[in-house]
Symmetry: C2
Subunit: 292 residues, 2 copies
C-alpha cells in the first residue's frame, strides 16, 4: 500500500471536517479564531488517522467515525495549547509558527484549549446515526484517556519529573499516561464505533499501547539525532529542559531496539485482521521510521 | 416546603458523590489533591441542585441523575479555577480560601481545571442504567453549554468587555453565555434523563434562562449592597475590576425590579408542573433573595 497517500488523504479529510466543525458564529469571534489558529497549524493528524485505521481494520468506514476523528484532534490540539503556556513548557514556537498564547495572549489561549476540549465532547455526542450505547462507551474511553487517568495526569507526572533523574519504569509510566492513553483510545474508538468485538478491541488496545510507546521513543531519538530543519524544532531541546529521555537512560542503540520490538508487537497484535489491518501495520512501521 | 433543608440535603448528596468520583489512585496524587481541593471548597452547589429539581419536576428521582449533578459541579469548579488564574481575574481568595493556583501553582491549577472538565464527561458517559440516547443528548447539551457556545465563550466576552462601557443588551448576552447556558443545561439535564417531554424541556429551558439571568443580576446587586463577611469577598470588587454590572448601567432599583420580573417569569414557566415543581419555584425565589 502507498502509505504516504493514505496518510495525506486522511489528514485532508479530518482537516476539512475540523474546519466545518468550528465555523460557527455562535462562538465569539476571538475565541473561534484562536481555536482555529491552532487547529489549522498542521501536524501529522496521527490520532484521527489511527481512528480511521481502527475503523477500517474491523471492516468499517472512515465516514462513520469522522466525529470521533475530529474530537481526537481537538483534544490533542487543546493539550498542545496548554502545554505551551508560560506556566507549563513556555514554548514560543510550535511547528515553526508562534504558539497560541504568543498570538492571542495567555488568557485567550487557556480558553481556546478549554473550548476545544468541551467542543470535542460536543462533536462526539452530537453525532447521529450511531448506536448510542457505543457512542457513550467511546465518550467514556476518550474522556478517561484525556483526564487525570490519562493525558492530563501524564502532564503532571512529566512536570514533576522534570529536572530529576528518573528510571525507565517511571518514564514509561509517564508516557503511557501522557501520550499512550489517547493514542490507544484513538485506535479503539474507531473500531468500537464500527462494531468491533471485545476480542478485536483488546488486540487493538495492545496495538495502540505498543505504538504509543514506540512513537515516544522515536520522538526522543529524533530529539537527539534528527534534522533540525525537517523537525521544525531545536535538537536537544528535551535535555535542555531537564526532561528524561529513553536515549539518556538506556542509550541510543537500546532505544532503537526497544522501539523496533514495540513495532513488532503492534504488528503481531493485528496480524489476524488480514488485509483490512494493512494500514494499521504500515502506520506502526511509519511511527518509528519517520524523520519528523 | 423547607427550602433550607432541601438545599442542604442535596448539597450533601452531591458532595459525597464528588468525593467518591475523584477518589481514584490512578489519578496522579498532586493532580487528584488539586482537583479535590477546589471541589471541597464549598459553594451553594446550585447547578447540581437545579439538576435534581429538574428531575423531580418531571416525576424523576435525584438518584437517577447523580452522575449529571456531579459532572455539572465539576464543570462549574473547573471554570472557577481557570477564571481565578493570574492570566484571567488573578484572584487569590475564593470563598475565603486561597485559590487553587495559590496553593498548587499555576501549572497544576490549569491541569486541575482540565482534569475536572474531562472527568465530568467521563462521569456522564460512564453512568449505566440510563437510556443511552438520552445520555448522549445530555452530554451534547452540557458540552455546548460549557464550550465556545456557552461558558467559555462568555468568559471571552467578559474579558473583552472589561474596562469598557457596555450596554444592557451586551451585558445580558455575556451573562447568557457565561452563566445562563450552564444553569439552563443543569435544569434540563435532570429532566431529560428522567424522560421529560419536549414541551416540559422547553418550559424548563425558559425557567433556567430566567433564573440564570436573575442570579447574575442578584450577584451584581450583592456586590454593591451585600455584607462583606457573609459574602466572603470584597464589596465593590466588580467595579474595581472594571466590570460592567446591572446596577451601574440601569441603577439598583431597576436591577431589583428586573430580577423580580425574571423570577416571576421562571415561576410562571413551571406552574403547570404542580406540586412536583415546588422546589423549582422555591429555588427561583431564593436566587434573588439570598444574602450570599
Amino acid at each position: 500500500m502507498d502509505l504516504q497517500s493514505y496518510l495525506k488523504e486522511r489528514a485532508q479529510w479530518v482537516e476539512a471536517a475540523l474546519c466545518r466543525s468550528t465555523d460557527d458564529e455562535s462562538i465569539p469571534e476571538t475565541l473561534r479564531k484562536s481555536m482555529r489558529y491552532s487547529l489549522e497549524a498542521g501536524g501529522k493528524r496521527l490520532r484521527p488517522i489511527l481512528c480511521f485505521a481502527g475503523a477500517e481494520g474491523v471492516g468499517g468506514s472512515a465516514d462513520r467515525v469522522m466525529p470521533a476523528a475530529v474530537a481526537l484532534e481537538m483534544i490533542h490540539t487543546f493539550s498542545l495549547i496548554h502545554d505551551d503556556l508560560p506556566a507549563m513548557d513556555d514554548d514560543s514556537l510550535r511547528r515553526g509558527k508562534p504558539t497560541n498564547h504568543k498570538v492571542f495572549g495567555e488568557a485567550v489561549a487557556i480558553l481556546a484549549g478549554d473550548g476545544l476540549l468541551a467542543e470535542a465532547f460536543y462533536v462526539l455526542a452530537e453525532a447521529r446515526g450511531i448506536d448510542a450505547r457505543l457512542q457513550v462507551q467511546v465518550i467514556a474511553d476518550i474522556a478517561a484517556a484525556t483526564g487525570g487517568r490519562g493525558m492530563t495526569g501524564g502532564q503532571v507526572l512529566d512536570m514533576e519529573a522534570t529536572g530529576k533523574k528518573q528510571g525507565e519504569a517511571a518514564l514509561t509510566r509517564m508516557h503511557l499516561y501522557k501520550t499512550g492513553a489517547l493514542i490507544r483510545a484513538s485506535v479503539t474508538a474507531g473500531a468500537r464505533l464500527c462494531g468491533a468485538t471485545q476480542h478485536q478491541l483488546s488486540l487493538l488496545s495492545r496495538y495502540g499501547e505498543a505504538i504509543g510507546l514506540a512513537f515516544q521513543i522515536a520522538d526522543d531519538i529524533l530529539d537527539v539525532t534528527g534534522d533540525q530543519e525537517e523537525l521544525g524544532k531545536d535538537i536537544g531541546s528535551d535535555e535542555g529542559k531537564g526532561k528524561s529521555t529513553y536515549p539518556a537512560i538506556i542509550g541510543i542503540d537500546a532505544s532503537r531496539r526497544q522501539a523496533a520490538a514495540l513495532v513488532d508487537q503492534a504488528i503481531a497484535a493485528v496480524v489476524s485482521f488480514g488485509a483490512a489491518g494493512e494500514p494499521l501495520r504500515a502506520i506502526a512501521r511509519y511511527v518509528v521510521e519517520r524523520k519528523k
